[in-house]
C-alpha cells in the first residue's frame, strides 16, 4: 500500500487516494472527434514510467499528477493539478 506524498497533506496511505486515468487519455473539451477518440480509446500503457491522474479523494480532494513506475510502483514525481491555491 503506497505512501503517497500529497503536495497539500504530506505522506498519506494509498487507500485515501483513487486512480482516475492517465494523462495521455485526457480529452480536452472541444477537441476534434478523431483526436478525442484516439486519446480516449488508446493508451501507451508502458511496462515502466507513466503519468497518471490521481485524486486525494478522502483527504484534501485535490487532483494530482503522478509519474509512477508500473513494475516497481515507485513514484518519481508528483504535482498538484487544479485551480491556483493559497499555501
Amino acid at each position: 500500500m503506497l505512501l503517497i506524498t500529497c503536495p497539500h497533506c504530506g505522506p498519506r496511505a494509498q487507500t485515501e487516494f483513487s486512480y482516475e486515468r492517465t494523462v495521455d487519455s485526457v480529452v480536452q473539451p472541444g477537441a476534434a472527434p478523431a483526436e478525442a477518440m484516439a486519446r480516449l480509446f488508446t493508451r501507451a500503457n508502458p511496462r515502466g514510467l507513466d503519468d497518471e491522474i490521481w485524486r486525494h479523494t478522502f483527504g484534501c480532494r485535490a487532483w494530482l499528477v503522478l509519474t509512477r513506475h508500473r513494475m516497481t510502483h515507485a513514484i518519481t514525481a508528483i504535482r498538484a493539478a487544479g485551480p491556483e491555491a493559497l499555501p
Binding site: 500500500m1 483513487s18 473539451p29 472541444g30 476534434a32 472527434p33 516497481t72
Partner: protein
Amino acid sequence: MNGPRRGGAAGAIRFTFDGRALLARPGDTLAAALLANGIGLVARSFKYHRPRGIMAAGVEEPNALVTVGAGGREEPNTRATDLFVYDGMVARSQNRWPSLAFDAGSVLGLAAKALPAGFYYKTFFGSAKRWMFYEWFIRRAAGLGDAPTAADPDRFTQRAAFCDVLVVGAGPAGLSAALAAAEAGERVMLVEQDRILAPSLVRDPQDLDPAWAEATAARIGELGGRILLRTTAAGYWDDNLITVSQRLAEPGEPPAGGIAQRLWHVRAGRVILATGALERPLAFAHNDRPGVMLSQAVRTYVRRFGVVPGRRVVIAANNDDAYLTATALRDAGAEIVAVLDTRPVPAGATSGFPVHNDAMPLATKGARHHLREVSARVGGKVMHWRADLLAMSGGFTPVVHLHMQAGGAALEWDDASQSFLPGGARQNVVSVGSAASVAPVGPTPPPENPGKAFIDFQNDVSLGDVDLAWAEGYRSVEHLKRYTTLGMATDQGKTSNMAALGRLAEKQGVAIPEAGLTTFRPPYTPVTMGLLAGRTERDAGAHLRRLALFDVHQAKTPIWQPLGYWKRPRAYPQGGENLAEAALREARSVRTAVGMTDVSTLAKFEVSGPDAVQLLELVCATTVGKLAVGRGRYTFMLREDGLVFDDGTVWRLAENRYLLTSSTGGADRMAVHLSYVRQFLCPQLKVSVVNVQEHYAGIAVAGPTAKAVLAGLIGEEVPRHMSAVGASIAGSPVMVLAASYSGERAFEIYAEASLAEPVWNACEAAVTAQGGSLYGMEAMEFLRIEKGHLVVGGEVDGRLTPHDLALDKMLNKAGGYIGAAGLARPGLTAPGRKQLVGLEAIAGTIPEGAMLVTALGQPAGGHVTAAARRVLESGSIALGQLVDGFARHGEELVATSPTRSQSAAVRVVAPHFYDTAGERYRD
C-alpha cells in the same frame, strides 16, 4: 511412544486430545504437552494418510495439525507447535476416519506406487460428469480439518500504527536492534510470534542469560517502544507497510475482551528483520515416521518444556549445532546411541559421543506408528540401531520471506552454509542475526531410495516425485512445485523448498542459485480470514447509509428497499396489505388526490459563480444558459464516448447559483465527474461545485391537490411547473421546486436535513388533510413508467445515445458538451441500434427483464427495461429497448421470460401512456 516423557508435576492445565483428558504445564504448547503425555501419533498426512508425529517446535511444523476449539470458534489446521494450551482446551486430530490409529485413508498409502505426483492428470477420463463422480471421492479424502458450521461469536479489529523502526523477532538480535533504536530516540515497534521473549535463549542459555531479554524489553518499554508478543509480521507491502496479526487469545480460546485478534497496518520508516533461521530435515527412506524430529526442536522440548522425546537417541546431522542437542539429551538422562555425522573425520571427534563420520541415515523402521530402528550407511557398510528418537539436522535456512516479499529484493548464495542469504533490497529493510547468516554445513548425500524419502511431509512429496517431474518435462522450479504440489501445503515449503531446489539443481547440472526460486508471497504464516475482514459487524465492509428521516420512516414500519448502500421505503403497507396492494393504493392516491415521498437520496450539487453556466453546459448535454432565475429544466449527461450515463434537473436559484440534481445510483460517479471537469479540465473557471446531497432532505408532494397542499403550507405564490421559489415551512427555510416524476402536478421541497423532521410532519399533516397518503419507491415506479420517465440503471444502461433514448431533440445545438466528440462515431448512428419503446400487453402480464422476440424460438431483438400495471385502469405496460424500435410502433412481439416461464404478447407503442400532452402539470 511408550510412557510419559516428563518428570515432576504433571501440570494443572486440563485439556483433551481426541477425547482423552490430559494435563499440561503453564507455557506448554500442545505439542510439548502431547509429547509429555507420551503421545507420538498426532496426525495423518494429506495424500497418502501416512501416520505423522511432531517434527518441529515452531511455525514450520508440517505434520502436527489439529482442530481446536468448539462451535463457531473452532479452528481447523492449527499447528500444535504454535498453540499454547489453555484450561478446558479441546483439540482433535484431523483427516482420519474412523480414528487416528486406524485410518481407512491409509489404503491410499498402500496404493502409493500407482499414485505418483500428478497421477490425476493421467486418468479419470470420460465425460465431465464422470470426472465429477471421481472428484466426489477425491474432495472427501482431500482437505485436512473441518470448517466450523456455527457463526463465529468473536470479533476481530484492525488498527493503524506508525513507527520509525519495526523490528520483527524478539530474539537476541532483534532485542539488541530494538534497544539501540529506542535509545537513539526512534519510535520503535517490536513484534514476536512466540509467547515469550528470546525463545532461542531458553533453548541455548549458554549463549546469553535469558534474564538479559527481560531487562532489555523493560528498557525498550521505558523509552516508549511498543512490544507485542504472540504477534506475526505476516505481509510486507509497498513503502514499508507491514500487516501484523496479533493474537489476543489462543486459537479456539474464548477471548477476554471479546476480541480474538487484532490486525495492525504498520507503516515503518525502516524494518529490521530478526526472523532467525529454520532447520532443514534430512531426506532418507521413511524419514516421516513419528519419532523423527528436527534437532533444535528436540533441544527446545528438553530445555524449554522439560520434555525428553526419546530414551534411546540417534543424532543425524551435517553440522556442529546438533552436538548441542546431544548434550542437552544426555544431561536430561537420555542415551545417545549414535551420532551420524555426514562430514569426514575429525568432525565430532572430541564430542565424547559415539560419532560415526561419513554417515547418512538409510531408513527407519517402526512399531505401532512409532520409531523403533534406524539404519545408516557409514562409510561403506550398513549399521543398525534400536532407537525411539532420531534428531536430524540438514543445516539451516535463513527466514528471508519478508525480505523477498518487500519486492525488488535479491538473495545471495552462501556456499559454506548451502543457503540463500538476504542481499540488497529496494525498500528500507535489513536482516540481522541468523536471518542474515547461518552456520556452515557438511555434505548432504542424496537418499538411496528417493521414492520413500519425503521432502514435503504434509503433501507427501518425495524426492522420487521430483525425479518424475523432471523426467516428464516439468523442469522450471515453478512447474516442479505445481506438478508435485511441493511447497503448496499449510507450511508453504518452509522445510521442503531447499531440498527440492538441491535435487532440481543436480538434475539441471547447475549450482543451486541458478535453479531459480519460487515467489515468496504473503502471508509468512496463515492468517485468520475473520481478522483480515476486520469482522466487527456482519456488514461485508459496507455501512448502511441512513436517510435523514430514517427514524420517521422506521416508525411506520415500511418495506425497505436497498439501493447501493442506502435503504429507502418501498411501500407503507396498511392492514395486512402485501407489497403490490400497498403500492397500487399509494399510486392511486397520487393520481386521484395527493401523495408524499422521501427523495433525499437524489444526488444534489450547488454550482455557484460567474462561470457556472460554462461548467454546466460542459457536463449537461442540454442548454442551461437560457434559464431565467427561478426556472428549471430536465437535463441529461453523456460520458466522453457520447453515451448517456445519467439524467436529472438543473435549477437557476439565483443570478450565479444553480442546483443540479441527478440519480441516486450514479451520485458518487457524478461527484467524481463534476470534480474532474471543474478541478482538472477547467481549473481556470470561476465556479464552485459543492456536493449537497446530504445537506438537503427532499420531500416530494404530488397529485391533483398538491398545489392546494403547498399553498396551505407556504402561504404565498406556489411555483408553476419547472419553477422554484424560496419559502418556509414549520419555521424552516425551504426551497420548493415544481418538478414532476409521477406525471402529476408535483413539488420537491428541500429543507436542511437537520431541520427536516418538522417540515416532514407539517407536510404529512397537510397531505392527510387532503385525503392523501405516503407513497414509496414501488408506487413511484408504477407512476413514472406510466408517464414514460427514464431510470438510470434501467432504460439508461450506459449503452444508448441521446437519439436512442429520444432525447436528441434536447441536445445543445451549440455542441461543446462532453460526449459530443464521441457521438460523431459512425456506429452510433448506424441502423440496428436498440431504441427506447413503449410496450402494451395484448395478453398476459409483461415480465420485467423479459426478452423481446418476434416469435418464440427467435433471437432477442431487445428487452423489457421496466414493467408495471396501469394505475387507474387495468392493463400491463412496459418500457423497453428494441432494435430500430422507433420504426416499429404497432408491431406485435412476444415478451418472453424462460427463467420465469412467463411470456406476454405485446404491441410496440410510444413510451408514454399517461397524460401524453402534459396537461396535468398546468394549473
